[in-house]
Symmetry: C2
Subunit: 150 residues, 2 copies
């Protein structure tokens, strides 16, 4: 390690920074999908309220997501997902749900689980996700649906 190039350890930090680069896209398409499902349409103001940022921040981010062909919008019009956006939203939601259910399964209280899952989800790789699913399946086996609450 002494005075060498990029250490083996560095790949972890590079991966984490990479996760963060995709995080905004994932959270936004997920939010767009939710808003369309819940309110029929997704407006800039809705996203601003959900994400807890100003409408200006939303506008700039949406512009980039349109560049990336994840959303479609026109001036003063609602925001919709492209097929690519839909697919990303579905993947993001699936992973989000598993992480959330997993935290609940190990006993984390509802609200804390929701809060921590929002950040953790973006760092959960395929292997970890698979282990969470296996764990959840085990819990379901041991405790049949009838006896579970929530």
């Amino acid at each position: 390690m002494t005075g060498r190039k990029r250490s083996r350890v560095a790949v972890r930090f590079v991966k984490t920074r990479d996760d963060h680069r995709s995080e905004t896209a994932e959270d936004y398409v997920e939010a767009v999908a939710d808003l369309v499902r819940l309110h029929g349409e997704c407006r800039v103001r809705d996203l601003a309220a959900v994400m807890g940022v100003s409408h200006v921040t939303v506008i700039r981010i949406i512009a980039r997501l349109q560049e990336a062909a994840l959303v479609e919008t026109a001036p003063y019009r609602p925001i919709t997902l492209t097929p690519r956006g839909e697919r990303l939203a579905a993947r993001a939601r699936h992973r989000h749900e598993i992480v959330l259910a997993f935290l609940a399964a190990i006993g984390v209280p509802e609200e804390a689980a929701r809060r921590d899952a929002e950040g953790m989800e973006h760092h959960v790789g395929d292997r970890t996700l698979a282990c969470m699913e296996t764990f959840l399946a085990g819990v379901r086996d041991r405790v049949p649906a009838k006896e579970r609450d929530v």
Copy 2:
């Protein structure tokens, strides 16, 4: 004025952004502590190698951490932790170790666990951390040290 109608959901995203603001400090003081323990001192080039960034990035970040009274350094000299920095490093390492051990305990392979833990750790709140520790204690109970491997 713009963000008056912040939804209840927004607190999760605000919390996640907050986690990210403390992330750099946590990872850097942890790395400084590790390097001092392993090599006797921590130089800019070591941090650059470990974090996988250029030395310029390290210099700027270290300057900010010094502002925050977490590290101490002088031009062309090694970097050390202040008492505050030591405490933060200890907390960060403790949480990091638990998250890593927890992932291993649910069956995530070594390298994947190390990679995912590096990002996940910063989003693990006290409640979640406590649940992970409880889970680990349970595993240790059920499978005594001698029979555990991997």
